[in-house]
């Protein structure tokens, strides 16, 4: 296909499509759409709803932790809660377990991944590589609907007699195999439905992953060579591979656990298992460890699925707002590839206490430490990118900037967990909860917020309010830290995770003193009415700090929600298609981009981050801008040849 004909082709079709689009009925345009942008928005909304729901579950849990012997306010009279609260209206262990397991599951599989990969990936990737859509638009739609179905099942499972799954988001066997087995209808128990829903979600992710990789490899526009891909696209490519290759083993685990539950097999049921004092009726001979291996083979790469898109979003926002190129672009690309590779061989660092011997655990300790190198490279590059820039601190940049130290804390606190010796102490304590939440909550979530603020003008044609943005950002930053930083201290003191009374039962641990009376922290706590005057601040009192912060964090999401919805109607209209003066291809499209994306076939003439190029007329030179010096004389009448495109820079 020669360049010229391709161009005409695209134009002809673009025109035709525009015309066509007006006739598409509503349901086809917005519901069963095959347009990657609509699907991206669908993903976005659904996952935000799930994030809010997961957050709600967590707020109930935090009540139980903070006030283990007080009735939950507001909820005690809801009919659904009758089965799960005790007589005094307090959260029961069962309810805590259910909410804990579902909080984890929903946040990871229905919230963050779909938002980061499904929503941003879908919306931005094809635009950034100059493609008219994803390679398989209908698969893309199927992927969203499978996700929605899986999510709906997860949600519906709360209303089954057995309630939703209760065995943790890790769903370890044999606990997960043996819970709720007494129900007559095993299929319709929460624990089984968790597996079914996961199978749907996994299928959805697989379709998505195939589609993304294909799109990135095959649909790059003219001139978009590998090293001209924005970093975001690279991250999506690696994420795609992580999903593609890591999810199937979890699917295997889910199928096997499903067989264990429904067909009575013993994949994960060891010989001689006793449940509630009775011999468990199964042949035995299986291995619970096998489940853990299969699970973590997915779940470690999964944490990179949670974090890579976040880093990538930040990597788009930082150069744009510092008006400087991304520092070490190539290094970052190689780092992300190495990271993707190593992600597959570190999984057993979650299993140090399962009795692995020294040889194999040395292997996993080594790879785990190795994988921190590329992670640090990524973060350091981002940090250096800011050095000496004239930074525009708009809302996306605020979130992007905060991301770096927050992710940094999360990452650095992970190092002790990489070694089996400290991990023996820290495993399954609040330290771990603090560690990975720093990565995913103030880390990934902040990056996702940044992304929303950043691309909102492209999606809607209007800016989000920056006042509300500030009102969203600063309290969120404070309360996120209020929630998660105490967890490190509690964890090191020995607070066990998944304890519905917040550690109250273990007095030796919970009564330890965190700060003596009238010291700095004790004074603050006193001011906040967490402790009485002149009392020491005990470890268990930190629960109140955390819980209070969590509820306040919820309050300060209100400005964001208002901003998100109202700005569609009353936000400031953008004055151009490229309001941030950014360089990547998505800003070359009309606003909002029509079905088919580009008005004119896009061509990439240069690398993705050409900010403040010496000698250039402006402080940014978009990828899609022809270079006058190279195409001089033939500017407007003919397409530049492939050679010229490729040799530009």
């Amino acid at each position: 296909m020669s360049a010229a004909t391709a161009h005409e082709h695209a134009e002809a079709h673009g025109g035709h499509d525009d015309h066509h689009e007006h006739h598409d009925p509503f349901w086809k345009k917005y519901i069963f759409s095959t347009d990657h942008k609509v699907i991206g928005i669908q993903y976005g909304f659904t996952s935000l709803v799930f994030l809010a729901f997961g957050f709600f579950l967590m707020m109930v849990m935090r009540w139980s932790i903070a006030y283990p012997d007080r009735a939950v306010p507001l909820l005690a009279d809801w009919p659904w809660f009758q089965a799960w609260l005790d007589d005094g209206g307090k959260v029961t262990g069962d309810l805590y377990n259910m909410f804990g397991a579902m909080h984890g599951t929903i946040m990871v599989f229905l919230g963050i991944v779909p938002l980061a990969f499904g929503a941003f990936g879908n919306y931005v990737t094809p635009l950034q590589i100059g493609a008219p859509d994803m390679a398989f638009p209908r698969l893309n739609m199927a992927s969203y609907w499978l996700y929605l179905l899986g999510g709906a099942l997860m949600f519906v499972s709360f209303f089954l007699p057995s309630g939703a799954a209760k065995a943790g988001w890790t769903n370890y066997s044999p606990l997960a195999t043996t819970t709720d087995l007494h129900y007559g209808d095993l299929f319709w128990t929460g624990q089984t439905q968790w597996l079914v829903a996961m199978a749907l979600l996994i299928s959805s992710s697989l379709l998505g992953a195939v589609n993304f990789i294909c799109t990135i490899i095959n649909l790059r526009c003219k001139g978009m060579t590998w090293m001209r891909l924005p970093f975001f696209v690279w991250a999506m490519l690696v994420t795609g591979f992580l999903l593609l290759l890591a999810f199937p083993p979890l699917e295997v685990a889910a199928i096997m656990q499903l067989m264990d539950r429904l067909a009575g097999t013993s994949f994960f049921v060891p010989s001689g298992l006793n449940v509630s004092g009775m011999a468990f009726d199964a042949a035995g001979g299986g291995s619970p460890l096998l489940y853990q291996h299969l699970f973590w083979f997915l779940a470690h790469p999964e944490v990179y699925v949670l974090i890579l898109p976040a880093i990538a979003i930040v990597a788009e926002i930082i150069p744009c707002n510092t008006r400087k190129p991304l520092w070490g672009y190539k290094t970052m690309v190689y780092a992300v590839m190495v990271l993707g590779f190593l992600a597959f061989i570190v999984w057993a660092h979650h299993m140090y206490i399962t009795g692995m011997g020294p040889a194999i655990s040395t292997f996993f300790q080594t790879t785990t430490v190795l994988i921190s190198v590329p992670s640090v490279i990524l973060i350091t590059s981002l940090l250096i990118s800011m050095w000496g820039g004239s930074i525009r601190f708009n809302t996306p940049m605020l979130f992007a900037t905060a991301f770096i130290p927050m992710f940094g804390i999360g990452g650095l606190t992970g190092l002790p967990l990489a070694f089996s010796l400290p991990d023996l102490h820290l495993h399954d304590t609040y330290y771990v909860i603090g560690h990975f939440h720093y990565v995913v909550a103030p880390g990934t979530i902040f990056a996702l917020f940044a992304g929303i603020y950043h691309w909102y003008p492209k999606i809607t044609g209007r800016m989000m309010s920056s006042k509300l943005g500030h009102l969203h950002f600063w309290p969120s930053l404070i309360f996120m830290n209020g929630i998660f930083s105490p967890m490190f201290f509690q964890g090191m003191a020995g607070f066990h995770r998944r304890a519905f009374d917040g550690g109250k039962a273990y007095e030796q641990i919970s009564q330890q003193i965190f700060a003596e009376p009238n010291t700095f922290f004790a004074n603050i706590a006193e001011m906040l009415h967490v402790i009485d005057a002149d009392a020491p601040l005990r470890m268990i009192d930190l629960n109140l700090v955390t819980s209070g912060s969590a509820w306040l964090l919820a309050v300060f999401q209100v400005p964001f929600i208002i901003n998100l919805f109202l700005s569609v109607f009353i936000g400031k209209k953008v004055s151009s298609d490229n309001p941030w003066n950014a360089t990547t291809l998505e800003w070359a499209t009309p606003t909002p981009p029509p079905h088919g994306n580009f008005a004119k076939e896009p061509v990439a003439y240069r690398g993705p981050y050409e900010y403040s190029v010496p000698g250039a007329p402006r402080d940014f030179t978009p990828q899609f801008e022809t270079d006058p010096s190279l195409t001089a004389g033939s500017e407007h009448d003919s397409e530049p040849s492939e050679e010229i495109i490729l040799s530009a820079h």
Partner: protein, 121 residues
């Protein structure tokens, strides 16, 4: 590959591979059943496993290379498959290693039942 000559050649190679696969199937079954492949003592035989898998691997490569014409593909697919196979092997091998690590040997029940060895059944 569109010209007729090429296609005839392809057809021939497909047929040849088909026949080879059938032959190998017979070999596999023979390995399992026939006593000539029983190297060890009476009873089931570990050597069968090795031979059987070796033959299966040959068959699989034939299918992959000729039927799935991997032999005509460019490097990209090889790269993808290479990593896939690498990770799949990693999953299998590392999982196994984690399980047969010496620390667990001590608890192996074999040790506790060794006593009766001296007796004849």
């Amino acid at each position: 590959m569109a010209d007729a000559h090429e296609l005839t050649k392809t057809k021939k190679s497909f047929a040849a591979v088909g026949i080879a696969l059938l032959v190998f199937t017979v070999v596999t079954v023979t390995i399992g059943l026939a006593p000539i492949f029983d190297f060890g003592p009476p009873g089931p035989d570990g050597m069968d496993f090795v031979l059987g898998l070796a033959v299966a691997t040959v068959k699989a490569s034939l299918v992959a290379l000729i039927f799935m014409h991997l032999n005509h593909e460019k490097g990209l697919i090889y790269k993808i498959l290479l990593f896939t196979v690498l990770f799949a092997t990693g999953l299998m091998v590392l999982t196994l290693f984690a399980d047969i690590d010496p620390i667990r040997e001590q608890f192996d029940t074999l040790q506790t039942t060794r006593g009766w060895l001296t007796e004849k059944p």
